[in-house]
Amino acid sequence: MVMNSTLKLGAISFSIFVFGVLEISICAMPQNEFLQQYCIDCHGQEKQKGDRRFDGLGKSDLEISDLEAWQEILDMLNLGDMPPEDEKQPTVAERAAMIESTTKLISTELEKLSDSGGHSVLRRINSWEYQHTIGDLLGLNVSAWNPAADFPKEVVKNGFDNVGAELVTSGMLLEHYFAAAEKAVLRATQFREAPKRDYYAQRTPFYFEGKVNQDLPKLFQVDRFRFTPDTPYTDMYGRHYRGGHIGFEPLARGGVPYSGMYRVRVKAAAVDRWHPYGNVIDDFRNGDPLVLELMAVDRKGSVESTGNVSMERSLAKVELTSEEPEWFEWEVYFDEGFEPEIRFRNGTLATKRLTRLLHQKAGHHEEIKPFVDMKSGLEKFHGILRGYKGPKLRVWEIQVEGPLEEQWPPKGHQLFYGDFKPDQLNGKNAIERLRIFAENVFRRPLQADELEPIESLVLNKIEEGLEPIEALQLGFQTILCSPGFIYLAEGDGPLDSFALASRLSYFLWSSMPDKELINIASKGSLSDSQILRNQVARMLADPKSDRFVSNFIGRWFEMDNIGEMPVSEDFRSYHRDSIETAMQGETEAFFRHVMEENLRPGELLSADYSFINRELALHYGIAGIEGNHLRKVAMNGMPRGGLLGQSLLLTASANGVDTSPVNRGIYVLENLLGYSPPPPPPDVPAIESDIRGAETIREQLAKHREVETCADCHRKIDPLGFALENFDPTGRWRTHYENKSMIDASGELPAGERFSDPSEFRSLMIQREAEFTRCLIEKLLAYAIGRELDLRDRAVIDGIYENLETERGGLRDMIQAIVLSDSFQNN
């Protein structure tokens, strides 16, 4: 809509870069003069046709109602409905200029009306940052327990969800803070004795009959799709829990007793990967490795149906190809109360469906024949499964050991209580602990008296008779809800060294600074550019920088789109093969590679390789890649390689059902070339796709472009989208649409360069390296400083770009330059 404010930056300052087409705003006539000439006669002091009066709109302090009037004027101009036909008409150029300047006026004025006047706002840490800060502060595993899981969704502005001016604090959020703080304190407090390492094992059978283990969930009980085998192993047949999941009896009554790392070992094999049933058993790809998935599940003691997993988390996946048993081993984290479960991830849909299909459609096979006419019952189904010659994940034994050696008491507990036991606490040492905690939480030294209100709270509670330990915990919770924690106070002008440390740390780690960074900050050495550079290098080398890579990639490529419009279930292999996880991994690994090798940013477009696993390789039609892990694969001669051939971008730019050249085109313009086309005028009828075959999308869009108001933008947008039409909504290659018509991916860029297919288009895009690099600088800078860029940042961006060009610098240089820039160092 009107407030697309990259528009402001894009249209004014950067449009000249877009395909080299020079676009200077031709504001020949000021708005007021235009109004005077073409509007006021009917909508002024004398006449107010349609009850509309515009003569007061020229003033400087516009209110929302004035802006609404401006918006209406804009709409009318866009539609060509006003001035009426029988009145004096503006020229096409005048109309265009008026539309452009009015759009800008509205956008600017609306911004003035919104929260932020200047740069400086208390930036609240967002849910993602909150999650990781709590994790780092208290040493809690926050991928297993995300304290921010239920927080209200953050506002996204131009793709970013860390824009200080936009981050709302509400009563609802504060209530969530209370609940999360209470849980966090509870989880980190460990007055128990250090846990002893325990060892658990279970051999087949994994399913039971009769009175044995009757207290366990159905998952452990024999039924039509689970039987007690007379072999030293148990087979899994389907993807669904009945006959496709195996639980672990030794931990099935309440899960592991302590949170921590556990070693899990599974002895298993993949049997009958080539089966004789053709396409009877649905979507299993003959010959595929069998995927074993290790899960942590919490049943909360339930014995209903599936054992009612109330929470589950995937811990590991492994591809099995050997018919001989092998041991597989992982070290994985379990939250207290969770138990292991193993699953046949790519088994055919459900064992139940499998047996039905077998006796309905494969009855002529010898092993199935005896059961076809048998009465439904255990004997029939067990018989079919015992004889079944299709893929089976075969399991002999499961072992679990842990918790493995770890700091005890855990980090958070130490930070809370030091060596104090609950009965040693009193008002005096409670205050000491409170201060130590607050200093960590606030990411800076305490200011005089600022903790006084919370100290009094704790002392008063003790005086009222609350146990000191409880009062202290209440104090910790309060600190975790206080403004000193949830806001980054960055002040006005140059950042002080602690604010700088925090900004840096939230940029590269999505979390609070560590001890080293705080130490450097307290020495005041962060102003030294070499020290700062070294810190950036150190932080990027730390695994915590994965948060930066994955979050930035997610924001940059608008991953939210996929969440909001999930890929339709009609794309079966996409879901079966966990393409979503793999494609995120691909782009992240690729970005990380370019960053670690400090390659030129243009590499992100031009690389002739990518990082894929077997399933993604099959998705891309590449043979010979085995295994679930991502690895670097050469892709020369293919339409892949570089961001433009990656599924993440291709899926996020579609809508989960089909592709639209317009949407893809805008997506590429905004995210790779840094130009936001203005929004379409209202009431231009959207393209109504008609797949009955009369007219191709290309013909329909061509008509669209004949309309004068549309042509100018769509000339820039559409070719970029058409160039990618060979990629379906999940990034698979296609040559034809669903209705069998051939895809034509040729086109012409506004500057006149022609391309005939995605590869030629890719070459043209590689030549746009300059626009791409600037776009990436802007995205990174906006992400790093947590605010929208404006014209004041223009010089900084220019400077970073020019330096990078002169030095032939790489992606890591770019990140360092951003940290050293004025925009980063000042508020």
């Binding site: 919104s114 006047g117 604090t169």
Partner: protein, 419 residues
Amino acid sequence: MKSPYERPIDRRHFLKGLGVVLALPAFESLGPSLVASKTMTRPRRLVYVGSHLGFWPGGFFPKNAGKDFEASMTLKQIDRHRSDFTVFSHLDHGLGGGHKCVHSFLSGIKKEESAGFPEKNMSVDQAAAEFSGSRTRYRSITAGLKGGTDMCWTRSGVNIPPVSNPARLFEALFVNSDKASLEEERKRLLHRSSVLDALRESAKTLGGKLNISDRDKLDQYLTSVREVEQRLQMSNEWLDRPKPKSPINRVVDQDRLHIEEMPLLYDLLVLALQTDSTRVASFEIPMGFQTAELEVSSYHGLSHHGKEASRLDQLQVVEAYLMRQFGHFMDRLKEADLFDDTLVTMGSGMGNAHTHSNKDLPVLIAGGGLNHKGHLICPEDNGKRIPLSNLWLSSLQWFGMDTERFGRSTGTFSPMNLA
């Protein structure tokens, strides 16, 4: 996350699911303590039902106007209620943006423009909820199938996600905490007010060093503290009052298909209104509504039907199902003698999902003891169109609010008298 492929598709289970629909007891059997006595003024209630993908216009809007309108394919499903609802043509918010605009259905304001409005993009149900206040245990209940459609927004522009697990909703309505957790909750509330005081004081110690925009942010924080305080008072008020006794068996936690959840959630909403646990409710139908059990392709996929007959037929199956469920909801409200005091709105922020148009939204209102008009065609021409927010304003006034403006409203809803 569970992959959708792990979901069992089991015909027998499905058929059983259809039988699950609750038999609601008659009004009287609930006993006098649970419902406002008939001699008192009967409270008014508002319900908003919204779906993300709306309805295919060709199957939704009747061709002719008036009470004797010829029922469209979709509206045929609720033809037995034809004298009890009004369906409108040509109402919308004048906004665009396809999927990214649907969230403005109940507010008329898109999230990204909300900063310019004093009440942000507050939705009509939340305006009503504020007015309703602590008269009921819950100011409002937002329910819906998982994912929802982001249509409920607070005054501070925060989205309220729908409760999608029927078991949770049942607990909220009928299950009293045990003594120990009640005690714990009481303790928590007791401490919370001193915690809030401490937080307010802490915020003030920062105040002096901040510039104007920072102070705005700090004000927002202090406002949040006040909001929590107000809710705290409400919680205190309600903590000791036992919840009503449930007239149905406990709804347990279990995997359910969407076609099982939808009737169950609708029924729970009726019970919520019947027991006066709330007077404002909403129900959200997401774009991810699972359609496999209806034996058709994916819902979102079908909404992009490309005008192909077989796909349109399948889409009609889904839309007929959704409308039939809504019809059952109206049946239940009537059975519970709530219908005439409950103004129910059904519609979508999506006008035509195929073209991603947010123009000419499907909207109907039902019940509320109104003199319904059948199919009411509003002005179509530019400059004469009536903002949907005017209807929202009138529904708030019907609810008893003394207000002259809601969002972008230009006045009360002129084509129909809601008073």
